[in-house]
């Protein structure tokens, strides 16, 4: 594989529900066809914002640290945690800064805005073009499969429990049709009151 975005494999998906959002990813990190780690989470948390990072593993690690640094600085200056929309623009500008030598990633953002309590999700290409979606965002080597699953399973106004079932089924069945994704999965269900993280039992092939 010469495409940097497909060397390590991995997938992530985010969905909007009724007063809730969900974000999920697989746990595989490989080197082309060889599986290396089954404990490589691709979702990172910055206050009440959740960031999913798929793509080249080294850039996933670099960017997750860069955003930890930038959101910490933001918090010190503003004396409040960063909002999802603000964070989305931070991701966009950070990626565009490297327009001609990009990070090979496919970021997705999910969270609930603490001012208006509205759910927010969005996705990006590797140079920071934002995709504001009202329904769902997919990313990674299983993106085709995830598009097919989400487009057929998702419906508006899902409650937290139903959203969990929907995003889990979408991810699980999408992963099983991608050789470079899988080896475990995690799902975050985010409501205003609480965040629930669940580890999913998946096929191990």
């Amino acid at each position: 594989m010469s495409n940097p975005q497909e060397i390590n494999g991995g997938a992530a998906v985010a969905m909007v529900g009724k007063d809730c959002v969900a974000i999920a990813c697989d746990l595989r990190m490989g080197s082309s066809a060889l599986g290396v780690s089954n404990d490589f989470e691709k979702i990172f948390n910055y206050g009440n914002v959740y960031l999913g990072l798929t793509g080249l593993a080294t850039d996933v690690l670099t960017l997750s640290d860069v955003f930890k640094f930038k959101t910490n600085l933001y918090k010190m200056r503003e004396e409040r945690a960063i909002e999802p929309q603000t964070f989305a623009n931070l991701v966009s500008s950070t990626l565009y800064e490297k327009r001609f030598g990009p990070y090979f990633v496919g970021p997705i953002v999910a969270g609930i805005n603490s001012v208006d309590n509205k759910p927010f999700i969005c996705g990006f290409d590797l140079i920071g073009c934002i995709d504001f979606a009202k329904d769902f965002i997919v990313s990674g080597t299983a993106s085709d499969q995830l598009y097919g699953m989400c487009e057929s399973l998702w419906e508006p106004g899902l409650e937290a429990d139903d959203l969990f079932e929907t995003i889990s089924q979408a991810l699980l069945n999408g992963l099983d049709r991608d050789a470079l994704s899988g080896w475990g999965a995690v799902v975050y269900i985010i409501t205003k009151e609480k965040v629930v993280k669940r580890l999913l039992k998946t096929r191990q092939d």
Partner: protein, 196 residues
């Protein structure tokens, strides 16, 4: 072509590296040590492009030692791994990247835990219970998947390593001239000479 293997046990990490230094069709040396000690309780094993490997390992070694001298404390294995990753990540987008893959074995005396980090030349860093670089991984990971236990003791770990080496000697289509075996634990880094 080089073999680099690492296995964690309950309170130690075992590192095995092939003794042969191969260039093209020739074996230039049969006593090549592909490891460098980074601090009292951490060790780096490396493979990759000929000139880059030792240069890089010794760069990390020197920096780790400098830190120890300046601050009077060693960097933890985790800290060394992250430092190594950073060096590789910065080099990756420079004029000439380091083409080096490493394993970092360590024993953290603060947490009393052994650790093994797998880092490739792209600077993808993962902490693993057992790891290998290059072709050796295709021959040994299945054995390790089957037999490795998280809380196995050193003896059991060495038995597992023996099985891996036996498999490599049986299946790899060239003579890698045996392996050097090193153990990283609370007492530091030590050699284990007699293993077949």
């Amino acid at each position: 072509m080089d073999i680099v293997l690492g296995i964690t046990t309950k309170d130690a990490v075992i590192i095995a590296t092939s003794k042969a230094a191969v260039r093209g069709i020739s074996i230039l040396k049969v006593t090549d040590d592909k490891t460098r000690q980074l601090s009292d309780n951490s060790l780096m094993a490396f493979t990759g492009e000929a000139g880059d490997t030792v240069q890089f390992a010794e760069l990390i070694q020197a920096n780790a030692r400098l830190y120890s001298m300046r601050n009077g404390v060693d960097l933890s294995p985790t800290a060394i791994s992250n430092f190594t990753r950073n060096e590789l990540a910065n080099a990756l987008r420079s004029r000439k990247p380091f083409q080096v893959n490493v394993l970092i074995a360590g024993f953290d005396k603060k947490t009393n835990k052994s650790s093994l980090n797998w880092i490739d030349y792209l600077a993808a860093n993962v902490s693993l219970p057992y790891a290998a670089h290059g072709y050796a991984s295709y021959y040994t990971l299945s054995l390790l998947d089957r037999h490795h236990k998280k809380d196995m003791n050193l003896e059991e770990g060495l038995e597992l390593l023996k099985a891996c080496i036996a498999e490599l000697q049986k299946r790899i289509p060239f003579d890698f001239k045996g392996v050097y075996v090193k153990i990283v634990d609370k007492d530091g880094v030590r050699d284990l000479d007699d293993i077949e």
